[in-house]
């Protein structure tokens, strides 16, 4: 099934990144999520949740493993777990248009 790669101009993007503490992976994930967010035209909101610091929040998105980057908006909701070191992989995984 083809996912429509569609970003409507002006529509808000909301990303949520779940990490576990300050590992190397977490750092890279945070960096890249930030980059992705920044390259989006229009609003992009990034929230980073350290499940060590805020373990309860992991339940909201039913997080199983970290790091996981979740695109909450625009729908549909998508998530990507594991290696978030490659920007393209992230874009593809979250259905975000590359700019």
């Amino acid at each position: 099934m083809a996912s429509r790669k569609q970003v409507t101009r002006g529509q808000k993007t909301v990303l949520r990144l779940y990490v576990a503490g300050i590992s190397a992976r977490s750092t890279r994930a945070i960096q890249n999520a930030r980059r992705i967010c920044d390259e989006n035209e229009g609003d992009c909101e990034l929230a980073v949740i350290d499940i060590f610091q805020q373990p309860g929040l992991a339940k909201d998105d039913q997080i199983v493993a970290v790091p996981t980057l979740v695109k909450k908006l625009p729908p549909p909701s998508r998530r990507l777990t594991g290696n978030l070191s490659d920007l393209d992989v992230i874009r593809v995984g979250l259905d975000l248009k590359a700019r």
């Binding site: 503490g21 300050i22 590992s23 499940i51 992991a58 493993a65 594991g82 290696n83």
Partner: protein, 696 residues
């Protein structure tokens, strides 16, 4: 991933197609599957850090290895001490920094009670800290090693680790900060103090470099001393050391204290400053020197003033010595003057006496004049010598109880020529029964002086009243009071205070008309004081006359029939002829005396020096010898001894000494030398004649 694809059918606007929903659902499911597969893959490949697992008491997070490495790094390497305490306060974790703080190795740390590292004084605070809900923080002190303490800022949080209650502690070392703060505060205060100080204050570090200097120090240095070597800026020297600053600094840094050392600072060629320098070490808490502090006060002015004062004192001393010497010289001069003046007088009187004997009434008037004038000069000279004797303390009184009335009558006799000459009216009211202990001659002299004074300073035909009474003195008991009042020129108030000083006279005209040296009243006062009495002067002012009051203590001894002091023997023309030897180097005097004596009937010989006297005595064999003491080469004493002890000595020889000195010491010397008696020049010829007559 396999994609399920169906060609899309044109949608009819009839009932929704269930397949569409289904398709969408499937798509979503596929999506989810994809994500799930992706997640699983990530987990499988080890691309995750942690897993969230639901547990009975909430979610648990399982961390994969290596994920917490950075945490560890942080805690282990940070500059704060970190601790984990269990519920009982035992250290279950400590980082290296904490071990460092408390100077204890890690293995001795973990497993130990935390309170072991808290000093007694801080225990309560720390307990409160650990108990505080939600955590707290405080500044406390911890024990570091055996003896030291370290100030720390502790943050504490309570927490849970799995099922344990734990406390997390963070300790920040405040040593440096505190020291800095204290130092800064102290510095601020110190700078204020140092700057305000009137003294120069210099602080040096361990290398002797100036790190602090007060305003005064800047001034004294004349340049900016900061960050330079103290010894380079302050070139100091002492009497022993030309460059003493390095030594002082070195000793202070060693811990020695210098106190109040006088040093000189050379600015340029001329300017020299004297400083009083003190120095000492600055010690850290543990006792090691941190540096030294030197303080100094500029005492140049003080020193100069002290030196000037010294010079002044020495000058004053020298001046005083000079004055005293001059005074002594003056007294000696006066004495010498008196003697010298007296010598020529004796021959004059003798000559006049001789004239009387030889020629009777011829030129009686002229002779009288000569005699009176010579007597006048004699009295002046006597006054002069008296003053000098009195100031030299050489007057001895021979006191005996005597009627004041007698003294007054004698004094009136002596003063009567002047009184008559001036035509004064004299009133006397001195009753008998007023007895004083006095030296008759001297007291007579006093009263005579007062009378002559009154006579001198009253115009012709004035009134003089002499009164004697008893009175009460100031607390000392009864006194005998003698008053001499005149109707004369009076004494100006300004002069009244000084009227008894030597050489002070009244208005020139009246004093000069009767001559005098202004010594009379000075002698009066001195003699009265010697008698234990007081004399005072009063006057209504110029033209209103004067009154002199004499107060004397009454005699305590019973009245004896005191005799009039001086008995004047008469010259007798018929005498027992004697052989008289006259020895005097004053030829005129000697010859005249010899003539006078032979005129009386004696046989005389004259010698003018010792040796000739001796040889003359050997042949002449005199019964009486008159020897002048002041002979040249061999003096009178020597001659007397020789006359007594020579083989040609005449037994029963009466030796009379003639001296210009009337002192007790001379009388004694005369007796010791073998003289039988002693006469003062100018010789009273009548007395001499009488004396010779009395000699056996």
């Amino acid at each position: 991933m396999r994609k399920l694809w169906r060609p899309s059918k044109p949608t009819k606007r009839t009932a929704p197609d269930p397949t569409v929903r289904l398709k969408a659902r499937i798509a979503r499911l596929l999506e989810r599957l994809a994500t799930a597969e992706g997640t699983l893959e990530a987990i499988h490949l080890g691309h995750v850090d942690a897993l969230v697992v639901q547990g009975p008491d909430g979610d648990q997070i399982f961390t994969l290895e290596g994920a917490d490495h950075r945490y560890r790094q942080l805690v282990e390497t940070m500059n704060e001490g970190a601790l984990l305490l269990d519920a009982e306060g035992i250290i279950v974790y400590a980082n290296a920094r904490f071990a460092q703080l408390v100077k204890t190795p890690l293995d001795a740390l973990i497993g130990t009670q935390f309170r072991r590292f808290v000093p007694e004084a801080w225990l309560r605070m720390v307990e409160a800290l650990l108990k505080a809900r939600g955590g707290s923080n405080a500044e406390v002190e911890l024990l570091a090693g055996l003896r030291a303490r370290v100030p720390v800022y502790i943050s504490s949080t309570a927490g849970w680790d799995v099922d344990m209650q734990v406390t997390y502690l963070m300790a920040t070392d405040l040593t440096h900060q505190r020291r800095s703060q204290e130092t800064i505060a102290a510095e601020g205060l110190a700078t204020l103090i140092v700057d305000q100080a009137a003294e120069g204050i210099v602080v040096c570090d361990l290398t002797g470099k100036v790190i602090r200097a007060s305003n005064a120090a800047h001034r004294v240095a004349g340049e900016n001393p900061l960050l330079r070597q103290f010894a380079d800026v302050f070139r100091l020297r002492t009497a022993d050391d030309a460059n003493v600053a390095p030594t002082i600094v070195a000793s202070a840094l060693r811990g020695e204290v210098t106190s109040g050392l006088e040093v000189t600072l050379n600015h340029d060629a001329d300017a020299e400053t004297t400083l009083l320098l003190s120095a000492g070490p600055i010690l850290a808490v543990e006792g090691a020197p941190l540096g030294c502090v030197l303080s100094f006060v500029d005492v140049t002015d003080r020193k100069r003033v002290a030196q000037e004062r010294q010079v002044l004192l020495e000058g004053a001393d020298a001046a005083r010595i000079a004055a005293e010497t001059a005074n002594i010289a003056k007294d000696e001069f006066l004495a010498m003057l008196g003697h010298e003046l007296r010598n020529p007088l004796a021959p004059i009187l003798t000559a006049v006496a001789l004239m009387r004997i030889k020629a009777g009434d011829v030129f009686e008037r002229e002779r009288g004049i000569i005699e009176r004038q010579v007597h006048h000069v004699v009295s002046l000279v006597e006054d002069l010598l008296d003053v000098s004797r009195i100031t030299q303390g050489k007057v001895k009184l021979e006191c005996a109880p005597i009627e004041l009335a007698l003294i007054v009558s004698r004094a009136i006799e002596l003063a009567s020529p002047l009184l008559e000459a001036r035509g004064h009216r004299l009133t006397v009211d001195v009753p008998e029964g007023l007895v004083i202990d006095a030296d008759a001659t001297r007291m007579c002299q006093v009263v005579t002086n007062l009378l002559t004074n009154a006579a001198k300073f009253t115009e012709h035909g004035g009134d003089i009243a002499v009164t004697g009474t008893t009175g009460t003195g100031s607390g000392a008991g009864p006194e005998i009071v003698l008053t001499v009042r005149d109707s004369g020129v009076g004494i100006a108030p300004a002069l009244l205070a000084n009227v008894f000083e030597t050489f002070v006279q009244g208005s020139r005209s009246s004093a000069r008309s009767e001559g005098g040296l202004g010594l009379g009243l000075a002698i009066v006062r001195s003699l009265v004081l010697l008698h234990g009495g007081l004399v005072s002067a009063r006057s209504g002012g110029p033209g209103k006359g004067s009154e002199f009051e004499l107060r004397l203590p009454p005699s305590l001894r019973s009245r004896s029939g005191a005799q009039p002091p001086v008995a004047e023997p008469q010259v007798e023309s018929a005498v027992r002829p004697r052989r008289v030897l006259v020895v005097d180097d004053n030829e005129d005097g000697a010859n005249l005396l010899s003539e006078a004596l032979s005129a009386l009937g004696h046989t005389t010989r004259v010698a003018h020096d010792g040796p000739s006297a001796l040889s003359l005595a050997a042949t002449f064999r005199p019964e009486i010898a008159l020897l002048d003491i002041g002979l040249p080469v061999m003096d009178g004493y020597e001659l007397a001894r020789r006359l007594r002890t020579s083989d040609t000595a005449v037994p029963g020889l009466t030796l009379l000494a003639m001296t210009g000195y009337g002192q007790e010491s001379d009388r004694r010397s005369a007796r010791e030398a073998g003289f039988d008696d002693h006469m003062t020049k100018p010789i009273d010829f009548n007395a001499l004649a009488a004396l010779i007559e009395r000699t056996a």
